[in-house]
C-alpha cells in the first residue's frame, strides 16, 4: 500500500513536471530556444491563481484567469525578447531568457512582497481513501485529472484538427509550411500561448498543494524542466511526458529511501546523468 501511495505521489509530481516541461519542449521544438524564463510564467500562474481565488472564491475561475493572462504574457515574452533575436545564435536568446527570469523573480518580490501569498480559504482540503490504506488528497486527485484532461485535449488538437496539423507542419519544416499557406507567425504565438498556459495551470495546482506562492518558487522548475526535456530527448513531446513521469516516481521513492544520501534535485540529476551515459539522445530523442 505504501508503495502504491509513493507511486501515486510520483505520478502527481510527474504530472506537474509534465505541465511545466511541455511548454519548454514546445518552444524548443519550434524555435530551438531554451526558454528558461518559462519558470517565471509558472510562478505568475501561481500568484494569479491565489489572488483570483482569494478575490472571487472560485478555483475554476482562477485557473481560467491564470491560463489566459499567463498565456498572453508568454506571447508578449516571445514578441519582446525572442522574436528580435531569432536570427542570432540560440545562446543569445538563452542569455535573454535567463535575464528575463532573474528580473521576473525580483519583480514578483517587489510587487507581491517577499513573504509569499496563501489562499485565505484553501479549496479542496482533505482527502479520501480510495482503497483501505491508500490515501489520496483532493488536490492531488485534481492534479492527475486536470493533467490527463489537458494532455488529451492537446493531443486531440494536435492530431485531429487543422490547427494541430499546421502547428506540426511548422515545427517540422517552417518554409514548407509557409508555402502551404500556414501563418507561421500565428503558429508561434499559439505555441507560446499554450505552453505558457500549461505552466500557469501547474502554478495554480502547486499553489493549491502547498498553500504558498513565493517569488522564488520558479527557481527549481527553471533548471529541472531543462533537465526533463534533455532527459526525454530535446524536441520530443512524448519523451518529455515520459521523462516527467519517470522523474516524479524516482524522486518519490528516492527521497524516502536514499534521501539521507542524495536530496531530491541530486537524485533527479543523477538519474539524468545515468540515462545520458547510455542514451545521449535522451529517452525518446532521435539522434
Amino acid at each position: 500500500m505504501l508503495y502504491l501511495e509513493l507511486l501515486f505521489q510520483g505520478i502527481v509530481q510527474g504530472s506537474i513536471y509534465a505541465l511545466i516541461a511541455l511548454g519548454l519542449t514546445l518552444v524548443y521544438g519550434l524555435l530551438r530556444i531554451l526558454h528558461v524564463a518559462h519558470a517565471a510564467l509558472f510562478t505568475l500562474g501561481g500568484y494569479i491563481g491565489v489572488i483570483v481565488t482569494n478575490q472571487t472564491g472560485s478555483l475554476a475561475l482562477a485557473i481560467l484567469a491564470a491560463m489566459i493572462v499567463v498565456g498572453l504574457v508568454g506571447v508578449a515574452m516571445y514578441k519582446l525578447a525572442y522574436e528580435p533575436l531569432l536570427s542570432k545564435p540560440p545562446f543569445i536568446a538563452l542569455i535573454a531568457s535567463i535575464a528575463l527570469f532573474i528580473a521576473a523573480e525580483e519583480l514578483f518580490r517587489i510587487i507581491f512582497g517577499p513573504y509569499g501569498l496563501s489562499y485565505e480559504n484553501p479549496p479542496l482540503q482533505g482527502g479520501f481513501e480510495i482503497i483501505s490504506g491508500f490515501f489520496l488528497k483532493y488536490g492531488e486527485a485534481l492534479v492527475i485529472i486536470l493533467s490527463l484532461l489537458i494532455l488529451s485535449v492537446l493531443g486531440w488538437i494536435s492530431g485531429y484538427t487543422r490547427l494541430g496539423v499546421s502547428w506540426r507542419a511548422t515545427v517540422t519544416d517552417p518554409d514548407m509550411a509557409r508555402a502551404f499557406g500556414v501563418n507561421t507567425q500565428n503558429v508561434r504565438y499559439l505555441n507560446f500561448f499554450i505552453g505558457s498556459a500549461l505552466a500557469a495551470v501547474a502554478g495554480v495546482l502547486v499553489a493549491l498543494l502547498n498553500n504558498l506562492v513565493e517569488p522564488t518558487m520558479g527557481s527549481v522548475p527553471s533548471y529541472k524542466a531543462l533537465a526533463i526535456i534533455v532527459l526525454g530527448g530535446l524536441g520530443s513531446i512524448r519523451g518529455t511526458l515520459l521523462a516527467s513521469m519517470i522523474l516524479g516516481v524516482i524522486e518519490s521513492f528516492g527521497t524516502i529511501y536514499i534521501g539521507h544520501l542524495l536530496d531530491r534535485d541530486a537524485l533527479a540529476f543523477g538519474f539524468l546523468i545515468v540515462v545520458l551515459m547510455f542514451r545521449p539522445q535522451g529517452l525518446l530523442g532521435t539522434r
Binding site: 500500500m1 505504501l2 501511495e5 509513493l6 505521489q9 510520483g10 502527481v12 509530481q13 525580483e106 518580490r109 517577499p114 513573504y115 509569499g116 496563501s118 489562499y119 484553501p122 482540503q125 482533505g126 482527502g127 490515501f135 488528497k137 488536490g139 492531488e140 502547486v206 498543494l209 502547498n210 498553500n211 504558498l212 513565493e214 517569488p215 522564488t216 518558487m217 527557481s219 527549481v220 524522486e251 518519490s252 521513492f253 527521497t255 524516502i256 534521501g259 539521507h260 536530496d263 531530491r264 534535485d265
Partner: protein, 381 residues
C-alpha cells in the same frame, strides 16, 4: 566687499556651530537577506533591528551619539557575506557588526570579523561553529544543539510521547537541531522510528507524508522555516496524520499559521519569543514592532532587536572608540531583552530558558517553559 566678507563669515560661523552641535554617529554593520529565498525573514530582521535603533536614538542615543545601521543584502549566501563583511570593516569602518542572516552567511562573515578584531553578534543563526570563530563573536539565540535537546525533553518528558518520526531540513539549521535532539533522545525514553530529510527548496512532501503515515509515530519532530514548515504541516494534516507536530523557532512567524491555516492549530514549537509574556521588554517589543511594520512580531525580528539592544548597552559602558573594549563590554552583558535574559559564557553563547509556544485559535500562545540549566547549557569551547 564688506558684504562678501560678512556673508562668508556668517556661513563659516554657522557651519562651525552646526558642526559642533552635530552629534556623532556610531555605525553598526548589519548583514541580512533582503533578496532571494530568505527575503521574508530578512525583512523581519531588518525591521526588528531598525526598531531597536529608532528606540535607542529616540531615547538620546548612546551617550548622545546616534546609532546608524549600515545594511547590506547578503542573500543568505556565504559568497555574498564575505565581501560584505570586508566592506563593513574596511570601507564603512563599523564599530561592530550584527548578523540578521542565516547560519551559512553568518559563519562566513564571523571569521572575517574575528580576524579584524571587530565584535560580531549573531542574532538568530544557530550553527555552533559561528561562535567558535573566536572571542569577538557572540550569539544572542540558542545554539542549535541546545534547542534540539530542549525538544527532546519537551517530547519525552513534558508531553510523555515516545515514538518519534523526525523530518529534518538538510542544512546547518535543521541538522544542528536534529543532532541535539538525537543526542538527548535516549535520556528521555524516546524511540526514533525514522528520520527523513528534505532540502530547503522542497515544498512538496507527498512521499514523506505517505511514509510517515505508514510509520505510525506518536509524535513528529520536524525542522524547517515557516515557508517549508507551513506546507509540510498542512500536507501532513491533509494526509490524515493527526499526531502532535513539534517544531522549532524556524516556524516562529504568523506566516506559518497563514500558510498552514487550520492545520497549524496545535503545532508546538521551541523558541525564544513568548507572546503571552508578562515581561515588559517582550510586550513592549511586540506592540512596537506591530505598530512599526503592520506585521505580527516573530522570533527573527525579536532576535535582531535583542542583538542591537545588547550592542547598544555594551557601547553605553565601553564607548565607541576601542573595539576590544566593546568586545569586553559585550562579554559582560546582563540584559533583559524581548527574547529573554541575555548573558554570555566564555564562548559567547547565551544561556536562557527555552520558550515553548503553541498555535491556539490562529495565534501563537504560551505553552510552557523549559528551564533545565544542565540540559540547556551551551558548549563553552
Amino acid at each position: 566687499m564688506t558684504m562678501k566678507i560678512g556673508i562668508l563669515g556668517a556661513i563659516l560661523g554657522v557651519s562651525l556651530v552646526a558642526a559642533s552641535a552635530q552629534a556623532g554617529t556610531i555605525k553598526i554593520g548589519f548583514n541580512v537577506p533582503l533578496t532571494g529565498f530568505a527575503a521574508a525573514d530578512g525583512l523581519s530582521a531588518k525591521t526588528g533591528a531598525e526598531l531597536a535603533v529608532e528606540q535607542i536614538n529616540g531615547a538620546g542615543g548612546v551617550k548622545g551619539d546616534m546609532l546608524e545601521l549600515v545594511i547590506y543584502d547578503d542573500q543568505a549566501s556565504p559568497k555574498e557575506a564575505v565581501p560584505i563583511a570586508q566592506k563593513l570593516i574596511e570601507k564603512d569602518e563599523v564599530v561592530a557588526g550584527v548578523s540578521g542572516s542565516y547560519s551559512g552567511s553568518t559563519r562566513a562573515a564571523a571569521g572575517i570579523f574575528q580576524e579584524a578584531g571587530v565584535p560580531y553578534i549573531s542574532a538568530y543563526a544557530i550553527h555552533p561553529d559561528i561562535t567558535r570563530a573566536g572571542n569577538f563573536v557572540f550569539r544572542t539565540s540558542f545554539v542549535g544543539e541546545v534547542q534540539g535537546r530542549a525538544g527532546a525533553k519537551l517530547i519525552g518528558e513534558s508531553l510523555g510521547l515516545k515514538r518519534v518520526a523526525i523530518i529534518t531540513l538538510k542544512n546547518d539549521f535543521g541538522q544542528a537541531l536534529a543532532a541535539g535532539f538525537k543526542e538527548a533522545a535516549s535520556s528521555f525514553g524516546i524511540e526514533i522510528l525514522s528520520e527523513y530529510e528534505y532540502s530547503i527548496k522542497d515544498r512538496q512532501f507527498g512521499p514523506i507524508v505517505s511514509k510517515v503515515r505508514a510509520d505510525k509515530p506518536d509524535v513528529i519532530y520536524a525542522s524547517g522555516y515557516f515557508f517549508t514548515a507551513g506546507p509540510l504541516v498542512s500536507q501532513l494534516r491533509a494526509g490524515g496524520i493527526d499526531v502532535p507536530i513539534i517544531g522549532q523557532e524556524g516556524y516562529d512567524s504568523q506566516k506559518f499559521i497563514e500558510i498552514a491555516g487550520a492545520a497549524s492549530e496545535g503545532t508546538i514549537i521551541t523558541t525564544s519569543l513568548d507572546r503571552d509574556s508578562s515581561v515588559a521588554e517582550t510586550q513592549d517589543f511586540i506592540k512596537a514592532f506591530e505598530a512599526k511594520s503592520g506585521q505580527k512580531a516573530d522570533m527573527v525580528a525579536a532576535s535582531a532587536h535583542t542583538a542591537i539592544k545588547v550592542l547598544a548597552e555594551a557601547l553605553q559602558s565601553s564607548g565607541a572608540s576601542d573595539r576590544a573594549a566593546i568586545r569586553d563590554a559585550i562579554a559582560q552583558t546582563n540584559l533583559t531583552a524581548s527574547t529573554g535574559q541575555i548573558s554570555f559564557n566564555k564562548l559567547g553563547e547565551v544561556q536562557k530558558s527555552v520558550q515553548v509556544q503553541i498555535v491556539k485559535d490562529g495565534q501563537w500562545h504560551h505553552h510552557s517553559v523549559i528551564d533545565d540549566a544542565e540540559l540547556l547549557s551551551p558548549p563553552s569551547e
